[in-house]
Amino acid sequence: AQSSPHHLSLQEYRRYGRQMQVPEFGGLTSQERLKSSSALIIGAGGLGSPALLYLAAAGIGRIGIVDHDVVDTTNLHRQIIHDTDTVNINKAESAKIRINALNPNVEVTTYCEPITNTNSFKIVKDYDIVLDCSDNPATRYLINDTCVKLDKTFVSGSGLRTEGQLTVLNFHRWGPCYRCFFPTPPPPNTVTSCSDGGVIGPCIGITGVMMAVEAIKVLTDYYTDDNFKPFLTVYNGYPQQKLRTFKMRGRVKGCKACDSDEITKEDIESGEVDYEGWCGSMNYNVL
């Protein structure tokens, strides 16, 4: 009998043995699930850096990385997947180099372009799960709408200063989506980026690693339709490291993305849904 392509080689047994031993992980079945699964990480920055390293190390079969930016010196205090030598190199490419070195079993695809109305469906459709590690509201709404229309569960994370936030959205096609939580975008003058507000490296790092834990729970079917409950987890590194988990609403009746046909794939791809116009251009300010 021919072995299935998702059976583990002896070398893989050795590599992943320690995590297969943990009861919560789910043994060989879960490891084979990870091997046969694929994750798309959008943004190889402060969140994406550790999320990518831990997901690659854990043995996800295929990883896609979307980032149009190049590595900048100002990133290196927190974006620990990159190197001083990769400054001015595209971040997705730079991240791929490290992943290949850490775990050559992982197949890595890079998308060295911004995620846009035109390419989001083409990119997202090939993956089982998406990690939204992006850095602005317009991109977050685009990722949400694309994942909802393509029935993809996604892990959404964000961070600034000493804080981080994360949640699992559109879980198994019934969990709430980003628009259920945030039907209207925030006024542009209340949106702050890491380059404007600053960020402590390990604080956003912890949020990124927590995203990897959630992705593993989704891909190994630790979360089920019975035990999954909508949540938002909030981390703060100061004054004392603290994690709070809030119980969140389910899908909202009439939500424009997940409970209506108001926004279609065609509306997005044609550019009729103008995310940047709707969210306004960022005007770095108070918050």
């Binding site: 945030f182 980026s193 890491c194 108070v286």
Partner: protein, 104 residues
């Protein structure tokens, strides 16, 4: 005579910056009629007493409710599940306002 309750308000996600850096505080909230005080009364109390500069009103309030991008949690539960503005406060309640972060 109107009813009073004492609740804890928390400001996370950088929201403390418009309240003079205060991350949590006790608020004594009074209803503006004979009914029990609600989240609506708490929000009025906050804008009346805690907001440092009137210029920041629009960072907290828009169209008579908290502005888009701020989540409200009552005792660690989304206010959507608790009646939003009309939730009747009980003494000891913890009401958390958190600005959503967008950095990555």
């Amino acid at each position: 005579m109107s009813t009073r309750v004492i609740v804890k308000a928390e400001f996370l996600g950088g929201l403390d910056s418009i309240f003079g850096g205060i991350k949590e505080t006790k608020c004594t909230v009074e209803a503006n009629d004979s009914t029990l005080p609600t989240i609506k009364d708490l929000i009025k109390h906050i804008t009346d007493h805690l907001l440092v500069s009137p210029n920041d009103y629009c960072v907290f309030i828009q169209e008579d409710t908290v502005r888009p991008g701020i989540l409200v949690l009552i005792n660690d539960t989304d206010w959507e599940l608790e009646g939003e503005l009309d939730y009747e406060l009980e003494s000891g309640d913890v009401v958390t306002f958190t600005s959503t972060l967008h950095g990555g």
